[in-house]
Symmetry: C2
Subunit: 258 residues, 2 copies
Amino acid sequence: MSREEELKEFILHGYIQYIPHVSIDCAIFGYHERQMKVLLIKHKFLNGWCLPGGYIKRTENLVEAANRNVKERTGIDGLFLQQFKTFGDPNRVKLDGFDVEKWFAVTGIRITRDNWLVDQTISVGFYAITDFVSSVPQPDILADDCAWFDIHEIPPLEFDHDEMVKEALHTMRVQLYHYPIGYSLLPEKFTLAEIHSLYETLLGKKLDISNFPKKLIALGLLRKTTEKRSIGAHRSPHLYSFDKPSYENALKEGLVLS
Amino acid sequence: MSREEELKEFILHGYIQYIPHVSIDCAIFGYHERQMKVLLIKHKFLNGWCLPGGYIKRTENLVEAANRNVKERTGIDGLFLQQFKTFGDPNRVKLDGFDVEKWFAVTGIRITRDNWLVDQTISVGFYAITDFVSSVPQPDILADDCAWFDIHEIPPLEFDHDEMVKEALHTMRVQLYHYPIGYSLLPEKFTLAEIHSLYETLLGKKLDISNFPKKLIALGLLRKTTEKRSIGAHRSPHLYSFDKPSYENALKEGLVLS
């Protein structure tokens, strides 16, 4: 099947393979050395940017659908994916920005009111965090562009995606003390300065440099190793690691803080 | 329209008023004096119990749908409702326990494979907490019974509802330190013993009586008032209240603990 035929089949009969009325949207955050970004996509028939997303195959569970989507956009398989909220409001998808002529030019199909893609849709939001340096953004079949945007320079997004980003950030920040979110963003052993930078960047606020590590150690999230790293004359800070058993126990018990 | 006609209309043409493929399920927890319960429903055509739930009207957002459902089952309007997770797995609803003959006896309708109620459904889970003494459980049109079960004596539930209860508890316990969950379960001013009992019961574990209030005060959740309550000779413990501005700020900022 050619790409055009595939697209036509998806638009006209996609409901056979995918569940109608339900989509997923992914807030993929990128971190690298004090910078935080989010991955956005520009569809050919929309004027603005939005979060990447898609439909759920009838053979997939929700995490599998989100993972497939994240893998297609970033090239990375098996990222830590976390549901943050499901969005369902009769007015959540306003089609004001939807350009029917552009859609026709791209797809060659005049979409009708009874098409499965037009009806009301509820969307399950997932967030993920990765090192943005290691990923290569890939637009999907209907998109012109896919790119990282600094978290402080996000343009107004299509649909209810401004709210999605806000809610994803909110949940990630609450969960930062309960889930092993930092694991993949730091080397196995790291300095207090490195984890301090990571937490300040993800939380979007200044954290007291002396209280912050004490709290993480008191909560049982952080473990001091016997090793040091030499970073210059008279400077060799201790190295730390995440307390993996404590995290795993917390995930099982449901609480780090208790 | 009679109740029978209403039911027939819902089964045959409910997709006009409700969004197909998406439901909500509600884990309604009840608290009263060291006891924690969950509200369960027994459908006429299922052998076991399950969480109350239903479909989303096309004019409703998700919280409105959940609130309508909770109000219908408990008689209480405007409970603090929190989404905890959305469940979507091709195998989540096994119809092994679904008794076709009982269904026919109740509804008078032979349901077909292409009926909108039979197709794959994704369910958005909400949890709520209320004082179970103040609510009167009401079965819905297709249920025989609706009742409170002690959290330690829940029977095996239908569908994936065992997992739903587990996930609802997990999320409630994580959020107990971030959201004003306790508000409606204690009087405006309460003793440390009362909030200690509440937190122990909701978390399902023992909490050190001397450290626990210190932590809540340190986190800015609790405020000591100047008042005392006389509860006997030589016993008049200080009264406390929730630190509402701190909670509201935390909800805005996304974090109590930071």
